[in-house]
Point group: C2
Chain length 295, copies 2
């Protein structure tokens, strides 16, 4: 039997170790490093690097080949959380049970720490060599991650999220907002892993479908947890969406139908990777985990 | 006789055209694009892409080979200006004679527009192919630019600049602050150009010395202009350094000695590229221009 708990623990240990090694190697000490560490060490789930490594495994490659690219994606994710929490944006004082970066330090430091993590991601992607990955593949990976981070992905989603506050969105608008804001980077993590594992185009296609579905499922559970989650387990306030007048899945579909949607999305994600066989076992377990998480 | 005015005009036209083409090709319409354009179209001098192309030329390469990398560096420079102007940082309402990005839009949009330009730079660097540049060289260029943008360069300089406000810096502290804040990216622009032009390591070394000196000369003239510049020509308020209690060259050395330092730095930059002969004529003219600029 596949034990997800053990698997996640092993991966997270390797990821946390690699993040620490990269910071020691690439970032000089000082206030910026402290602020970057504050947000990186805040007990994140490391979902994106875990998915990146699991995707490499799922196409028959080595998970280690996707370790550094996975860390780079985690740097981008962390930068986006730091900027999203700023007073001018979501104005969240707490993140993962600890003061947000701008609360622990100050706004200027938080803006720069986010910026520094953003750059560091690309520095890692350009400079860390992995056996078996050609320079052409490395450039393709940088392009895929930049595309998912920028105007065709995360940052456009963050902009729309702010613009849509107070608006009554349709379910399609909400879906495309979240595909951009969180879905694009999750998909990039999975595709990057597949490329690191030298997956073929058919496998990459299957993994894209998997990623699009779990990315959305992740967001819908986020919305659900903002209503019925336990703030202590989650390490942040609940009810924020309502306070910020954000459109949510439960707000549009109701709680029951949102929960049904999560199950449906997970089902579709599992179907997509069915042809990948036993090597995709970790990805299946992660899909189930996303549907059942309580924080 | 080399005519700098004509040369700069020709280069700037090509750079502005390329920036526009890249935005049309790579950035979907909407508020983010408007904010990015607002800051990109604000009449910047395009010093970094001009230097990048002139360095390609100086090593015997084609200036066109450095056009897209030069634009990517301009995107990074523009992102840094947008974030630097924010209320939490320098709190500058005006930039180049127009409202700063957060004044024309709002803080959230300005933070995201800066972020989007930052990502776009790396997307351009990874995806735009140039004849004669190998994938290995392209990765090396991305690494050099990321290194100059991040914790070993610009962002560390911006952080130190904020932290040092109100402090009495020594001339060495001030020098290293500016080598990070503006010098590193100017140096990266010149080295990138040399790599695009397939320059050898000896040529690159000479250009690094050139760039370090003109980068500093540029900053010293900036400090001088903040005291004796014409706000109308400059499109921004003068006396900002004093208001923000920033250490400056004239503040430490006096105005006369600062002007002497500029001449000295330009002299050193010219000596460094003397062996490059006639092909480096544009770089020489740019060095003189930096010393004599009035805005």
């Amino acid at each position: 039997m596949f034990n997800l708990e053990t698997y996640l623990q092993k991966r997270r240990d390797a990821i946390n170790q690699a993040i620490n090694d990269l910071l020691i190697e690439m970032v000089p000490g000082g206030r910026l490093l402290m602020a970057m560490r504050h947000s990186l060490d805040a007990g994140g789930k490391r979902l994106r690097p875990v998915l990146c490594m699991a995707a490499a495994e799922a196409v028959g490659g080595s998970p280690a080949s996707a370790l550094f690219p996975g860390c780079a994606i985690e740097f981008i994710h962390t930068y986006s959380l730091i900027h999203d929490d700023l007073p001018a944006i979501d104005n969240d004082d707490m993140r993962r049970g600890r003061p947000a970066c701008h609360t622990a330090f100050d706004e200027a430091t938080a803006i720069f720490a986010g910026d520094a993590l953003h750059t560091l991601a690309f520095e890692v992607l350009a400079s860390q060599k992995t056996d078996g990955i050609s320079p052409e593949q490395q450039l393709r990976i940088i392009g895929i991650i930049a595309d998912a981070t920028g105007n065709h992905g995360m940052i456009e989603g963050q902009m729309r999220d702010i613009l849509a506050q107070g608006d009554a969105l349709t379910i399609d608008d909400l879906r495309s907002l979240h595909m951009l804001k969180t879905g694009a980077l999750i998909k990039a993590a999975v595709v990057t892993g597949a490329l690191c594992g030298n997956g073929n185009e058919r496998q990459i296609k299957a993994l894209e479908t998997y990623a699009a579905n779990i990315g959305l499922a992740f967001q819908v559970t986020d919305d659900i947890l903002d209503i019925k989650g336990n703030p202590e387990l989650m390490g942040k306030a609940v009810g924020m969406d309502e306070r910020l007048k954000k459109a949510t899945y439960p707000g549009i579909l109701g709680l029951d139908e949102s929960e049904a949607l999560v199950r449906e999305l997970v089902e579709e994600s599992l179907q997509a990777i069915d042809p990948l066989g036993k090597a995709a076992e970790p990805l299946r377990a992660v899909a189930d985990y996303i549907a059942q998480r309580n924080h």
